[in-house]
Assembly symmetry: C2
Homo-oligomer: 400 residues x 2
Amino acid sequence: MIKIAILGYGTIGSGVVEVLHTNKESIAKRAGDEIEVKYILDLRDFPGDPMEEKVVHDYDIIADDPEVQVVVEAMGGVEPAYTFVKRALLAGKSVTTSNKALVAKHGAELIAIAREQSINFLFEASVGGGIPIIRPLNSSLTADEIEEITGILNGTTNYMLSKMSFEGLEFEDVLKDAQSRGYAEADPTADIEGYDACRKIAILTSLVCGQQVDFEEIYTEGITKITATDIRYAKAMGRVIKLLATSKKTSEGYCAMVVPFLLSGEHPLYNVNDVFNAIFVHGNVLGDAMFYGSGAGKLPTASAVVADIVDIAKHLHKNILISWSSRKMDLVEYKKAKSRFFVRTQEPKDAVEKQFGQVEWVEAEGITGENGFLTEIMTEEEYEEKALGLKNILQRIRVV
Amino acid sequence: MIKIAILGYGTIGSGVVEVLHTNKESIAKRAGDEIEVKYILDLRDFPGDPMEEKVVHDYDIIADDPEVQVVVEAMGGVEPAYTFVKRALLAGKSVTTSNKALVAKHGAELIAIAREQSINFLFEASVGGGIPIIRPLNSSLTADEIEEITGILNGTTNYMLSKMSFEGLEFEDVLKDAQSRGYAEADPTADIEGYDACRKIAILTSLVCGQQVDFEEIYTEGITKITATDIRYAKAMGRVIKLLATSKKTSEGYCAMVVPFLLSGEHPLYNVNDVFNAIFVHGNVLGDAMFYGSGAGKLPTASAVVADIVDIAKHLHKNILISWSSRKMDLVEYKKAKSRFFVRTQEPKDAVEKQFGQVEWVEAEGITGENGFLTEIMTEEEYEEKALGLKNILQRIRVV
């Protein structure tokens, strides 16, 4: 019998309880032992809940109980999650968390503590919800140099962009719809400004390069400036707009950013719609691979957390090596990144060509009074320089 | 230093040597030790090859050398691979193989020997080439009951069907094209009759249910009867034809088959084209997930083999638990499987409706002298019974 404690009885914490109950037998078989929830830490009480008697309000009870071998952190946010998780690890308890903010900020340190203690700090659910990506990166793609990892890592914004695309709606209208469905929070900033995806690509890049990537250094744009007009142009080009979190290895190092991109129909992420997430990986010997699934949601996320619990149970006193040291990885300045740009401007065509040379003009049905065009491939820096000479730029979206 | 021997210096064996050389440093870091090829077993000599001096012709040299800790089986076919692998395992050497015929036939036994010896028998490359699927099934999707696993598991036939679809060609013409590109062998039977995919879905189903699934019991149809006319009907319906290897958990047990299906645009496997493979998984808590990548080819397959070598190096004297016992899993008779059917017949519409009741008629441009229709959902048995009363059935393809 392996006894666990769950920190936070919200969506994910209660999902973990549900998954452990629903698949009790097969989980015990795979873990090699039964898993029992001994405590649930929450500020609230849950009268009438089947787990009512397991709820405690004082973390000391969990931290000081030597019977608890695994702590499931499902509170979210950096504090007090960080303090609780660190204390658990130092007390010899393995931890799994779904908390991308915690992992992005303190992952390297918590991994190191787990290694010293010959226990484990796992975080499969922190990126891509139920999609297995952390463990495959760590234990399957080990023969490769990963040259690119690009994901649709935020279900809320992908739902919104899909709906804008399918129904021709404006940003504000789909935001209201997403909020009414519970896909977006009352304060949607973290999703729509790309902050959530930024932490996730920081985690993936750290795993790929084996060093600490600070999310604060990743250039991040959200989707708040995407309009129904942009979507119409995208359709005219046979493309879709997706918020991609991307990290590429260049000769000078890793270059990461979170920005909306125009994707062609051949791109493996083109068809990833609604709340689904997907992660595209290019390895130097593997070639292209993609992992697709439910990026959020109670049960898919809990599925990933419970898979971590099973892995911990199989490695109770053996650390699973995760290459992510605290040595900092300096990212290549995003201004050196190259792409084509789609631009909308109210300037006449000759003014555009004066700045950008030959461009590819894009016409979208029913849109007048402006000119849309695609540039050649250039760096962000080159684009900004050329764009300086052009007044009235209405939009610019990178193209991949 | 971990010394390995490679059995077979063909496409995959030489790919393994290349990957180990190309990514030598990062592989050593992840494995925790350097990997050195000590022997290569092949009937041929390779004068001038950098590995020339490692080539041996006698397996005894490898089996009897206690320095060899890992054997890479890359010969293909059941014998002598089975005899060699078994002997290696009994001598305490871990094994990785890319050989689906060997794994489908003797997987359960070889896994059991490895467990007894506290070593490992791994086979990531045997299904889906470079796509991580065996390890994710075994160590990531452990919180779930897998209710469906459906894959495009054969790159040759997927290339051929894609080309038929894109270019409107007939089967014989794309087969010649695939042979000229080296995608299909001179004797293409194993690919085009579905035998290759059949062994792979047998392996996946065994892993999902934890018992032995005999590939001989899986109903298998190839793609040899698919015509350009079928493709035109598919296009008229907004569908594509794919050879799917599928296994579903029903209330009576697992039902598996390998047959061409008509897929709608919403199906996650709809866009998997050319030589790519993909595996769709539905878990009872995870929901839908998909794994996509290069299903074959020298380097992608070698990438998966080397990932196994790294995993073996990390678990030199510890068995990684794989749930696949020798206890036989009786499959549900395929005649109980349900789907809609697309049918082409030269019978008049009233004769069709007499047998099948209300159907959905399908018209395809330029096709006359026959009637195409979609049935309701029914079992294979029900379909066969109704079809008995209809002469001149030109084609029937299942719809998903």
